[in-house]
């Protein structure tokens, strides 16, 4: 078992009890509604050609947490193809969000609409930012 996988297992066993999972998702939803929803929309579908969708996005449910953390913190203003489409609007940076808040909102978008992916922990947010 790799070190990373072991870390996940440990976090999974001791870090996230089901009670806090629910709490994290409620928190994440609150952050989503105040900061993200206006552009990414209530259904997480984004806006064609303008704001990238989060629902069904391979980036959002993928394993590259550091990329997501960086985009939330620093915003985004590059033209790249996401799942075959281009999106033109600049994303607003959120430098004031705490690591805990980022973990919650990421966990929420990774587990909303049709998305089903692992929860994101504060440790992962911290670690990925240092690694960046």
């Amino acid at each position: 078992m790799g070190r990373k996988a072991f870390m996940f297992l440990v976090l999974g066993l001791i870090g996230i009890s089901s009670k806090t999972v629910a709490q994290n998702l409620v928190n994440g939803k609150k952050i989503y509604e105040t900061r993200c929803l206006v552009c990414h929309q209530a259904d997480g579908g984004g806006v064609p050609n303008m704001n990238a969708p989060l629902d069904g996005s391979t980036n959002v449910v993928g394993n590259d947490i550091s990329r997501m953390v960086k985009i939330i913190k620093k915003g985004y203003n590059e033209r790249v193809a996401l799942d075959g489409s281009y999106y033109s609007n600049a994303m607003t940076p959120n430098p004031d969000l705490t690591d805990a808040a980022i973990a919650d909102v990421l966990s929420y978008i990774r587990n909303s609409w049709s998305n089903k992916a692992s929860m994101v922990t504060i440790a992962q947010v911290k670690k990925q930012v240092v690694k960046k």
Binding site: E33, T34, R35, L37, V38, C39, Q41, A42, D43, G45, G46, V47, P48, N49, M50, N51, P53, G75, N77, R79, Y86, S88, N89, A90, M91, T92, P93
Partner: protein, 418 residues
């Protein structure tokens, strides 16, 4: 037996439904008008243009599945549906315009022209003339819409690559830059010589400024003036939650329609237009509090529309087919909003603004609706749920009106029968 009965009921139902759905191509129109689908599955047709012989050209926002981005459509048997379809070009972009025997198109950086022959076929699809190049394209508001007067001038919109000219775009709390440096090369309409090749900023002049992003514009030959529709700013509530509620943001600012004189300044980013107060209000990035009035030097709109609906094309109707009230009035397509969330999205229709003696002569009205395709009052929460999003407009030689849909790739033909 029971199963057979059910099946035949199902067939009957679907037949009835199909007939109903095909009725006016699903659109709701004023009495006496009818609509049909002129072309479909085109990809992302943005602006459209029609020759005097009725050949329709559509500029695709992105190359289609075959990698082509300009489509030529012809209805050779006169049944109201395009039956001859050719395509070329490989660059993205919105603008297209027929002027004499030339077809002008725009990418997000340039304007090109093609030569048309006696059958309105393009002579040089692979070798267009570059009319203008090097226009600012920083992704946001990058489309270059074009129109022409009758004096060999070409007008091109260069959209501002910003929401409100903040030091940091779309960053909460970031102040507006004073003066806004974007306005030197974008956020306005530039005028160029329609007959010259290889022009760039130095050859053109800034005709009007303070326009955040104009997608729909048209020269009105009866008033000899330019008319433009602006996409107003976004996100007043998310950046200034203490000044604006979600409900206020959903209605602010108005989408504005301007009559333009050379040198006019419509006030972006310093002011926005509040449709309930009917006033220009100082933007919060420039010290506004939601009430403080802006400088009177900025021009007023001739019509204000509900917020965030995204006007996409303007067409002054000069045909003889439609009833008299439409003559010289303006049709405006609305793409439908996204920035009203969390409230339901609005728009997705073609509006009409009546004109008399060169002035707006009454309230605007919805001319063609139902593009979004929802039934029983279901609200669109995300623009991607819309079945069609109105975009380009063109008038056929017989006076029919054509409307493109860049979401599903349709072109609708709307005609009037007495």
């Amino acid at each position: 037996m029971k199963r057979q009965f059910l099946f035949s009921m199902l067939v009957m139902f679907s037949l009835v439904f199909q007939v109903k759905a095909q009725d006016n191509a699903g659109l709701t129109l004023p009495q006496g008008f009818k609509a049909n689908v002129f072309a479909q599955n085109l990809g992302s047709p943005r602006h459209i243009a029609i020759t005097s012989k009725g050949v329709l050209f559509a500029k695709l926002n992105y190359p289609n599945k075959e990698g082509k981005s300009i489509v030529r459509l012809e209805d050779t048997n006169g049944d109201g549906v395009a039956d001859k379809n050719t395509a070329w070009g490989n660059y993205p972009g919105t603008g297209i315009y027929v002027k004499g025997n030339k077809l002008f198109t725009s990418s997000n950086d340039d304007v090109f022209s093609y030569q048309l022959d006696a059958n309105d076929e393009v002579v040089n699809p692979l070798n267009p003339t570059t009319v203008i190049s090097g226009l600012i394209n920083r992704r946001q508001h990058e489309s270059k819409s074009i129109t022409f007067d009758n004096n060999n001038n070409l007008y091109v919109n260069i959209g501002a690559y910003s929401n409100a000219c903040q030091v940091k775009d779309r960053m909460p709390g970031s102040q507006g830059m004073m003066p806004c440096p974007i306005l030197d090369s974008a956020g306005g309409i530039w005028k160029f010589n329609a007959n010259k090749e290889n022009q760039t900023y130095g050859n053109g002049q800034r005709y009007a400024t303070g326009l955040r992003n104009v997608v729909g514009l048209d020269w009105n030959n009866s008033t000899n003036k330019l008319y433009v529709s602006q996409h107003g700013r976004d996100q007043l509530n998310s950046f200034y939650p203490t000044l604006y509620t979600d409900a206020q943001n959903a209605e602010l600012p108005a989408e504005t329609f301007y009559e333009i004189k050379e040198g006019d300044d419509a006030g972006w980013p310093y002011v926005y237009y509040d449709p309930s107060m009917k006033k220009k209000i100082v933007s919060p990035e420039y010290g506004g509090d939601g009430k403080k009035e802006g400088d009177a030097k900025f021009i007023n709109p001739i019509v204000d529309f509900p917020a965030h609906m995204a006007p996409m094309a303007v067409l002054f109707y000069t045909g003889n087919q439609f009833p008299e009230k439409y003559k010289n009035g303006a049709f405006i397509t609305f793409h439908g909003s996204w920035n009203r969330a969390p409230l339901p999205q609005e728009g997705f229709f073609v509006a009409f603004v009546p004109f008399k003696n060169g002035k707006v002569s009454g309230e605007w009205e919805i001319f063609a609706n139902g593009f979004a395709g929802t039934e029983n009052g279901v609200k669109i929460m995300n623009p991607r749920q819309a079945k069609a999003r109105p975009c380009g407009l063109a008038q056929g030689p017989d006076g029919s009106l054509y409307v493109s849909d860049d979401a599903k790739g349709n072109i609708f033909k709307i005609s009037y029968q007495k």
